[in-house]
Amino acid sequence: MPAISRDEVAHLARLARLAVTEEELDTFASQLGVILESVAKVGEVAAGDIPPTSHAVPLTNVFRADEVRPGLTQREALAAAPAVEENRFRVPRILGEEQ
């Protein structure tokens, strides 16, 4: 894989909600390029029909009974909130649409 451009880094930062500075864009572009070049080595392995491993444990069907368990109180839930109004988390105005 080729090195990563400044624009691509800016795009990644947007996707990841990181308001990176202009200076960081340069630093990250070069660092990410080096790292990606190094990790791209995985592409050398012929692994066409090898099944991917997403989990390190060979478990399936781990289910919970549909029984109510005590959760947090309203006070506990809201205790760490940067802002609270009417027992809800108060957040700045939302621009985007719901998904």
Binding site: R17, I35, S38, V42, T53, V57, P92
Partner: protein
Amino acid sequence: MSNPVSDEITRSTAAELAERIHRREVSAVEVTQAHLDRIAGVDPEINAFLHVDGTGALAAAEAVDAALASGEAPASPLAGVPLALKDILTTKGVPTTCGSRMLEGWLPPYDATVTRRLREAGVVVLGKTNMDEFAMGSSTENSAYGVTRNPWDRDRIPGGSGGGSSASLAAFEAPLAIGTDTGGSIRQPGAVTGTVGVKPTYGGVSRYGLVAFSSSLDQAGPCARTVLDAALLHEVIGGHDPLDSTSIDAPVPPVVAAARQGASGDLTGVRVGVVTQFAGEGYQPGVLRSFDAAVQLLAELGAEIVEVSCPHFDYAMGAYYLIAPSECSSNLARFDAMRYGLRVGDDGARLSAEEVMSLTREAGFGPEVKRRIMIGTHALSSGYYDAYYGQAQKVRTLIARDFAAAYEKVDVLVSPTTPTTAFRIGERVDDPLAMYLADLCTIPANLAGNAAMSVPSGLSDEDGLPVGLQVMAPAQADDRMYRVSAAFEVARDAAQGGPLIHRVPDLAVTA
């Protein structure tokens, strides 16, 4: 100024302290106070702790003493023994920062399962230890709260990410600690501080309340100064947890029995595999010499030494630095200034939630965390997924197969824990790839979900710093590596004239 009585306490092993507390020769409060005093004396220099909970610790110790006084049996073999907890495990009402500005001042409303089990076992939690931010790093230099210094040489790093936990052991601030290991964050700090660090089988210790870095790799485990102490702690924190879907529903392997058996010093019939991939370029000669001597010692104990090749281990680093950042980019998305933690830029009107999220994440995360989030975001993007994340998961399968093939021939595998001894603070901060090399030997066990531990093998002859021997075992066979490590520990002490940890230089204690 050191106090001989409290020195004697703080230099004891956890097993010794537990025995004396349970016989009521010394109280848990005295033991706790001795450690709190030690922390007060040396931690300004070491910076192993981000938060010391003296009140909570003494209250827990008092409860243990009261129970013993009323004739109750100890809640566990470690009841009354103090412990240092990595600041990545949640503690109800006690700060948990993960070494990040993002969580400065956050008081979790719940205990991690590990925390709860420690409390129920009567283990006294002294406080929370320093770490690389969100466990990303190999030196603790990525902590937002300053670097932790290696007690062996305070100009050097204590390893990472769990440098605080390991340094607290080497500085005799605590006899036990908890770490978490995603790519080596328990074992590599153990190696460079001359302490024991264990990454149990994935699923062996609950991850509930462990702030996730890379969910499919993270594993909490015990840190101690002796193999037996680590085993005792392993049995306290291990076992099935219905709150963690990836927790293995089976009894904890008999690690304490294995450690005791190993201490007899006989390894006759045990087959030990030396992984040929872990040598050569990038390895410090003194580390390799210490490793060779360790293998020699194992042979003398009766072990059969076999060379084993695991060809896909060469790709482990690449796979790891795709999988871990990918998962981290998703796991760390929740730090968005909406429900808890830092919020930057909310002027009440002008800036939107989206902007406040971005400004907060920019201000709250350090450079290494940002780098990994961006690498992970990239690796999961459409158009790149197959080449990066998908391919890394296939390599992961191949690495697991290499292990499986090796374990058909041998009982355990050994290697150096990390290619070099502790490097100097600042030496690798601007070179992420050089930093990543510290985890070269530890990563494969995480990718396969196997068990692995580091036990000190001695001091490197060129710089006099500790070297770690990594002992690996198949999933759910953690007891095997404890047996081998315990046998090695006894032989090493005999060969080297006493416990390695006693050779840590004295630290000036501030009065």
